[in-house]
C-alpha cells in the first residue's frame, strides 16, 4: 500500500463555526428550536419501520398542507428544483407539448427543464410584477394543446402571488395537466389543491415550513398518475421515477417496498416536525397571520418612502415582499450594510428583477410584527448610510 499523497486538510482540524443571523431573505428561513432538535435524533435506517411510520405521518401532513386526498403525496429527496424536475420528468415525454407561464425566474427554469427532456415548450409571459389572466391562459392552451401547464403560485423573484381559480378547469377542458409551484407560498397563502383542480403541486421545506432545506413535498392527482403510469417511454431519471418513489413512500398497492434510494432520514424528522407545527397552528390561522404581517410591513415600508414593486394589492405575495430598489442606491450596498450592521439577511432581485428590487422574506415563524419592526429599522438605517446622490 503506498502512502497517501494528499494530506488531511488543515481546515478540517479547526472547529466548525456557524453564526446566528436573521434569515429574512427569500429562503432558507430560520429554523426554530423544536424543528432543529428533531434533526438531532439518532439516525436509523431509511427503510426501518419507524422511519416508514414517520414517512406516513409526513404524507398525512402534506395532504393537510396541500388540502388534498391524493394518495400519491410524499416528499422528494432534494429541494424545490428536485420536485420541479420530478413533476416534469414524470408527466412529460419527449416530443410532447408543454406550456409554461413565465412571470419570473421559476417559469423560466421550468421551461429549461422541459426543454432538456425533449418537450416542445411554449411560454406565455407576463412582465415582472404582473401575472397572466385566465383569458390569456385559455388562448394559449387552445393554441398549443399542451399536456402540461406550469405556473408559479408564489413567484418569489418578483413578489407576485398568482391567482389560481379557474385555471385547473381550463386545463382539464383542453386535456392538460395543471402543475403549480407553491414553494414560496404554501402555508402563507391559501392553496386548495383538490378544489382548484391542481394536478401536481410541490413546495420546499425551507420556506414557510421553517425546516432545513433537503426535502420537497409533492403530490400527484389521479389524473396525473394516469398519465405517468401509461407512459410509452421510461422517465429519463431513475432517481425521480415516480413509480419507484411512490413505492418507497407506500403510496402504491404493492405489498413490498423495494430499495430505491437512501432517503434523507434526518431531513424526514425535521420535515415531520415542521408539518406538526403547521397543523398545530392551523392553515387558516397561518394564512391570516402572514397576510396581517405583510400588510403591516407594507405600510411601514411606504412610510419610509419606499415603494412596493407589485402594484396590485391582491397580487402581493405575503411571504416575500419586493421593494423597488431606491434610486441612486447601490442595492448591494444596502444588503451588505444590513447584513454587517444588523446581522440580518435581505436580498436583491433575481433573474428578471435583478437590480430592480430588494426582497424581504418573512416566512413561517419569522412572520411577526416584531421582525417587521426590526427590518424597517435596518432599512431606515441603511437608507441613511448608503449612498445616493453623487457629490
Amino acid at each position: 500500500m503506498s502512502p497517501v499523497s494528499i494530506p488531511p486538510p488543515q481546515c478540517l482540524k479547526k472547529r466548525m463555526v456557524v453564526p446566528q443571523r436573521y434569515m429574512f431573505g427569500p429562503g432558507p428561513s430560520n429554523v426554530p428550536p423544536r424543528i432543529l432538535e428533531a434533526g438531532a435524533n439518532p439516525v436509523i435506517g431509511h427503510m426501518h419501520p419507524e422511519t416508514f411510520e414517520i414517512m406516513s405521518q409526513i404524507k398525512s401532513g402534506i395532504q393537510y398542507m396541500f388540502q388534498t386526498q391524493n394518495r400519491t403525496s410524499f416528499a422528494v429527496s432534494g429541494t424545490g428544483h428536485t420536485a420541479m424536475e420530478c413533476a416534469i420528468f414524470n408527466t412529460v415525454e419527449p416530443g410532447e407539448n408543454v406550456l409554461v407561464g413565465v412571470n419570473g425566474i421559476w417559469g423560466e427554469r421550468a421551461a429549461d427543464m422541459a426543454q432538456r427532456i425533449g418537450a416542445r415548450v411554449e411560454t406565455i409571459v407576463a412582465p415582472p410584477g404582473g401575472y397572466l389572466t385566465n383569458a390569456e391562459i385559455e388562448k394559449a392552451l387552445s393554441k398549443h394543446r399542451p399536456v402540461l401547464f406550469f405556473l408559479a403560485h408564489g413567484e418569489s423573484s418578483t413578489g407576485v402571488l398568482h391567482p389560481l381559480d379557474g385555471i385547473g378547469d381550463l386545463c382539464h377542458k383542453y386535456g392538460c395537466l395543471f402543475l403549480v409551484d407553491c414553494v414560496a407560498s404554501i402555508g402563507g397563502a391559501p392553496v386548495y389543491m383538490d378544489q382548484q383542480g391542481i394536478d401536481i403541486l410541490y413546495t420546499g421545506s425551507q420556506k414557510v415550513l421553517n425546516a432545513p432545506p433537503g426535502t420537497a413535498p409533492i403530490s400527484f392527482s389521479e389524473r396525473a398518475c394516469q398519465k405517468v403510469f401509461n407512459r410509452r417511454t421510461k422517465p429519463v431519471s431513475f432517481f425521480l421515477d415516480l413509480s419507484w418513489l411512490a413505492n418507497y413512500w407506500g403510496c402504491d398497492d404493492k405489498p413490498q417496498r423495494i430499495y430505491h434510494h437512501t432517503g434523507p432520514v434526518t431531513a424526514f424528522y425535521s420535515l415531520r416536525e415542521s408539518l406538526a407545527v403547521l397543523a398545530d397552528e392551523g392553515l387558516e390561522n397561518s394564512w391570516e397571520r402572514h397576510q396581517k404581517v405583510a400588510e403591516y410591513f407594507h405600510t411601514g415600508l411606504e412610510s419610509l418612502g419606499l415603494k412596493l414593486f407589485v402594484k396590485e394589492k391582491r397580487a402581493r405575495l405575503p411571504t416575500v415582499t419586493t421593494i423597488v430598489s431606491p434610486p441612486g442606491y447601490d442595492w448591494k450596498e444596502i444588503t451588505s450594510y444590513i447584513m454587517k450592521k444588523h446581522n440580518l439577511e435581505i436580498s436583491g432581485g433575481l433573474g428578471p428583477s435583478l437590480g430592480l428590487v430588494l426582497r424581504v422574506g418573512l416566512m413561517g415563524f419569522n412572520s411577526s410584527e416584531a421582525n417587521v419592526d426590526m427590518v424597517l429599522e435596518a432599512l431606515r438605517d441603511a437608507l441613511q448610510h448608503c449612498h445616493r446622490s453623487k457629490v
Binding site: G129, P327, G328, D330, Q384, H387, S389, V391
Partner: protein, 328 residues
C-alpha cells in the same frame, strides 16, 4: 415575447456575473481601462483639445482625447488629473478613481486630484479612503500643513480629519477658502451632517458662484439630506452653467424620482444617455451603467410594460421617441 424574455434573462445573468467580477476595491485597482477603439489615438494636441471638449460639455470626446494624450505620454500627470475629473463629471466613478490615483502616483501633492479623489471615495462609500485623501490634502496645503499632528488620541479617522479642517477654517478670518470649504462639505457628507455640509458648499459658492461642480455638490448634499426640492434647484443651476454635466443630470433624475416626478426623471436620464451616445459613435459600454439602472427603476414605476422592456433592451431611440426627448 419568449425571445425577449430569454434575452432579458441572459442580460440579467450577464450583469450578475459581470458584477461578481467587477468589485475590486479602488485602492488596489489594477489600473485604468482604456477605450479599445480611440479615433484620437495619434492626435497631436490631444490634451488641449480634450480640455476644450470638456469645457464645451462633450465629455465622452474629452475622455477619448485625454486617453489619447496619456497613451502618447503615460507620465502626463496633468492629463491623468483632467481625465479623472472628467470621468467623474461623466458619471464614471471607477474610471475617475483609477485616473486620479495614477495622477497622484506621479504627483503626490496634487491638491485638486486629492480633493477629487476624496469626493469619488465618498460617493463609493469608502469612508476611510476618503478621509485619508483629505488628510493628505491638508498635509500638502501650504496654508494649513502646520496643523497636522500625528496622533490626536482615540478618535475616529473621520473625526480626526474633520477637526483638522475645522481648525483650518478658523484660520481664514477675513475670507472663505472655497477649496477648504469643499473639503468640509465632503466630510460633513461622510458624517451625515448634511445641514453643515450645505453651509460649507454654500460658503464655497459665495466665492465661486459660477462653479458648476460646486452647485452639483450642493445639490447632492441637499438630496442626501432629504431636501429634494432644493436639490433640484441647485442641479438646475449647475446644468445652466454646464448643460453637458452628465453627473448632475443623473442626480437631477434621482431627485425627480424621489419627488414622484417619474416622467421628468426619465426625461433627464434619457437626455444624459443621448448626450453620451451622441458624442461619439460608441457602443452601449460608453453610456453610464448607473444611468441605465436608474432609468429602469423610474420606468418600472410608471406602469408601461412595453417601455420597461425597451429599457431592458437598451433601446434608447424608442424611449426617446416615447418621451419626446429630442437633441439638446
Amino acid at each position: 415575447m419568449q425571445a425577449e424574455w430569454e434575452e432579458l434573462a441572459r442580460r440579467n445573468w450577464l450583469e450578475e456575473s459581470d458584477s461578481q467580477q467587477k468589485p475590486i476595491p479602488p485602492s488596489v485597482s489594477p489600473g485604468y481601462y482604456f477605450s479599445t477603439t480611440n479615433p484620437f489615438r495619434d492626435q497631436p494636441n490631444a490634451f488641449i483639445e480634450g480640455q476644450e471638449k470638456a469645457r464645451q460639455g462633450d465629455l465622452n470626446a474629452a475622455v477619448l482625447l485625454l486617453e489619447a494624450a496619456i497613451l502618447q505620454d503615460p507620465n502626463d500627470a496633468e492629463a491623468w488629473q483632467m481625465l479623472g475629473t472628467t470621468q467623474a463629471e461623466n458619471e464614471n466613478e471607477q474610471a475617475a478613481i483609477a485616473s486620479l490615483q495614477r495622477c497622484l502616483e506621479l504627483r503626490p501633492n496634487n491638491l485638486q486630484a486629492l480633493m477629487a479623489l476624496a469626493v469619488s471615495f465618498t460617493n463609493s462609500g469608502l469612508l476611510r479612503e476618503a478621509c485619508d485623501a483629505l488628510r493628505r490634502w491638508i498635509r500638502h496645503n501650504h496654508r494649513y500643513r502646520h496643523l497636522v499632528q500625528d496622533s490626536r488620541g482615540p478618535t475616529s479617522p473621520l473625526q480626526d480629519v474633520l477637526l483638522l479642517f475645522q481648525e483650518a477654517a478658523l484660520l481664514n478670518v477675513d475670507g472663505v477658502d472655497p477649496d477648504l470649504q469643499t473639503g468640509l462639505g465632503v466630510l460633513y457628507n461622510l458624517s451625515s451632517e448634511f445641514d453643515k455640509a450645505v453651509e460649507a458648499f454654500s460658503a464655497a459658492l459665495s466665492v465661486r458662484p459660477q462653479d458648476y461642480l460646486l452647485w452639483n455638490r450642493l445639490g447632492a448634499t441637499l438630496a442626501n439630506g432629504n431636501r429634494s426640492q432644493e436639490a433640484v434647484e441647485a442641479y438646475s443651476r449647475a446644468l445652466e452653467l454646464q448643460p453637458g454635466f452628465i453627473r448632475s443630470r443623473y442626480n437631477l433624475g434621482i431627485s425627480c424620482i424621489n419627488l414622484g416626478a417619474h416622467r421628468e426623471a426619465v426625461s433627464n436620464f434619457l437626455t444624459a444617455l443621448n448626450q453620451q451616445r451622441r458624442s461619439q459613435s460608441c457602443s452601449q459600454q460608453q453610456m453610464s451603467a448607473n444611468i441605465w439602472a436608474a432609468l429602469r427603476i423610474a420606468i418600472s414605476m410608471m406602469d408601461r410594460p412595453e417601455l420597461f422592456q425597451a429599457a431592458n433592451m437598451g433601446d434608447l431611440d424608442l424611449l426617446m421617441a416615447a418621451f419626446q426627448v429630442g437633441d439638446l
